[in-house]
């Protein structure tokens, strides 16, 4: 695993315009960064990342299986009681999931350590599945990168296949896609997934989350008053379960992607549960609930809200003192604690590996860098290759 400087493609910004990649630069700062890339060996990819991803994912599913049947745990996960039955049934029915992203600290040598599981609304899928793929194609064509180079990235292929499987088991006229207004990144992410569904031959419609309506017969409706009965939503379950239409979720048969059981999988309370069920697993960091904190007193720890996104409201506590605190709007549902295990540094950069799964299968990685030790939403995205 090496950080390799490389020349930027001269025309990549025009190409980004052409392909509608609008969020490569945000607030005047680069988000997509192709001034360098990460080079992995096939062994690092397969044994270091791919195999642990598949294994950790199965361990996470084992946690879900335990939690959905245990009221005390559902309470610990801060899932409103109103949804316990629905969630349990959704899990037992095997409501299909599309994708997830596991975040790992990995330095190319030591076992990858799981930071968290983004199982409900993961983003950076466009950059991973399409844009870094195109970057490699272009650089191989121009001779900057060896023709034998590969990339761990079968995302687009797998997404198209998975959409096709999910849709073929429904009798719905459309697959809906939705996200919030005023966010170019989320809109671009959802457009990408919609493109993948269209490539699978599925008729789709888009609706903003804020525009959804409550229709006669307790249906969700779009702006044309048509019922929404099959929908990919880039909107967190923990928000939906606490908003005005929460009650409606249990009253109709709308099929959601991701399904409601993902509110267990994407919950940070998953981390202490994993450590309890699989103690000392090489790919896990010790993690604890608030009331178990005595156990970890001798180690440096990170305090994370049960519900949070993009590194918000995270504190690092060393020798009992808070040494770093990030701002954010989260934390009202409580916190969990995870052993402090800083990201590896490559030059001045702290590097985080996002490892994707589609339909429970490892499907590729994304690499993000940050100057700060906690990766936040303004970290940069770098492409990668596999040395052949």
């Amino acid at each position: 695993m090496i950080r390799m400087p490389i020349k930027e493609r001269p025309n990549w910004r025009e190409q980004a315009d052409d392909f509608g990649f609008k969020f490569h630069t945000m607030y005047g700062k680069a988000y997509w960064d192709e001034s360098a890339y990460y080079l992995f060996t096939l062994e690092q990819i397969e044994q270091g990342i791919e195999d642990p991803t598949a294994e950790v994912h199965q361990m996470c599913l084992a946690v879900v299986d335990k939690v959905v049947n245990d009221e005390a745990l559902l309470r610990k996960f801060r899932i409103p009681e109103l949804f316990w039955d629905n969630l349990n049934q959704s899990w037992k029915r095997g409501d299909p999931s599309l994708y997830s992203r596991l975040d790992f600290a990995y330095n190319g040598k030591d076992p990858a350590k799981l930071y968290e599981n983004n199982a409900d609304t993961p983003t950076s899928i466009y950059e991973s599945g399409f844009w870094q793929w195109l970057w490699l194609e272009d650089n191989v064509r121009s001779g900057q990168i060896n023709r034998g180079a590969d990339q761990f990235n079968s995302l687009q292929e797998k997404l198209i296949q998975r959409f096709s499987e999910i849709y073929s088991k429904t009798d719905q006229p459309y697959l809906y896609f939705g996200c919030c207004k005023d966010t170019e990144e989320d809109r671009g992410t959802v457009q990408y997934l919609e493109d993948c569904a269209n490539e699978a031959g599925i008729p789709t419609k888009f609706v903003y989350i804020e525009d959804m309506g409550h229709g006669e017969g307790d249906l969700f409706t779009d702006l044309d008053n048509q019922a929404i009965e099959l929908m990919f939503k880039l909107y967190p379950w923990e928000f939906m379960q606490r908003e005005e239409y929460a009650g409606l979720i249990n009253k109709n048969a709308t099929q959601w992607i991701e399904p409601i059981w993902k509110s267990v999988l994407s919950n940070k309370a998953l981390l202490p549960m994993l450590w309890k069920m699989f103690p000392n697993h090489p790919n896990l960091l010790p993690a604890f609930f608030e009331n178990e904190l005595d156990n970890s007193i001798s180690m440096d720890i990170v305090k994370k809200p049960i519900y949070s996104r993009e590194g918000a409201n995270v504190s690092i506590i060393r020798n009992g003192k808070t040494v770093l605190d990030t701002d954010g709007p989260y934390g009202e549902e409580g916190f969990i604690y995870q052993a402090y295990h800083p990201l590896p540094k490559f030059g001045k950069n702290h590097t985080l590996i996002g490892s994707w799964l589609v339909n429970d299968q490892p499907a590729g990685i994304s690499v993000r860098e940050d100057k700060a030790v906690v990766t936040q939403d303004m970290s940069r995205y770098l492409p990668h290759t596999i040395l052949n």
């Binding site: 509608g20 983003t123 989320d186 419609k205 804020e210 959804m212 008053n225 880039l234 606490r242």
Partner: protein
């Protein structure tokens, strides 16, 4: 190879701003059946009796098709706030009450149902059709499905259809309120006035 083998780049290009295109509900959709290879003949019947009379031995299939078509018509027909609005599209006395739990709405009455042997030959497909008696309506004198596709003059009781004709149609209903999702986002993104350093996505 551990990466996607090929990508349809044409699909990925966004030369026109597709994001701003808004779909329309009862659009006038035109069909180009000539271009379709999987076309077949379907009959249009006004009710179960007419269907049974012309298909001896299929009385039960006709009855089921009629009843299911009536239910589909109620679910999928366009809905109007007033009888006047509905009749402006479909003609005098062509509309009926739609039973909404909060107040009444109006929808065109089912004018008949398409009936055809399914492609696997063992079942029968059906779909409700409507028609307009208002000469100023684009649907005047035609068989129309709930999604706005026209299938030729209502003087014909045999029509040519593609597979799309029997696909499920979106349910159409009255929306009683909007905006019940999304409030957490406006609350969280206004937190601490930090929006300038926060790119505002809710994924992770």
């Amino acid at each position: 190879m551990k990466r996607t083998k090929s990508i349809n780049l044409g699909r990925m290009r966004k030369t026109t701003d597709r994001l701003s295109l808004k779909p329309i509900s009862l659009a006038i959709a035109s069909i180009t059946l000539a271009a379709c290879s999987d076309t077949r003949q379907a009959s249009v019947f006004r009710d179960a009796n007419e269907c049974s009379f012309q298909n001896p031995g299929l009385e039960e299939e006709c009855q089921i098709a009629y009843e299911e078509a009536l239910k589909d018509a109620s679910d999928t027909a366009p809905k109007y706030q007033s009888r006047r609005e509905c009749e402006a599209e479909f003609g005098n006395n062509a509309c009926t009450n739609y039973n909404a739990s909060s107040g009444s709405m109006f929808m065109p009455a089912m004018a008949g149902f398409m009936f055809a042997r399914a492609l696997d030959r063992n079942r029968y497909n059906h779909s409700p059709v409507f028609t307009s008696y208002n000469s100023r309506s684009p649907f005047y004198g035609d068989w129309v499905t709930a999604d706005g596709y026209r299938y030729g003059s209502n003087r014909h009781s045999t029509i040519t259809v593609g597979n799309k004709a029997f696909k499920p149609k979106p349910k159409v209903t009255r929306t009683m309120s909007r905006g019940g999702f999304g409030s957490t986002v406006s609350a969280k993104s206004s937190w601490g006035g930090k929006k300038s350093s926060f790119k505002g996505g809710w994924g992770g």
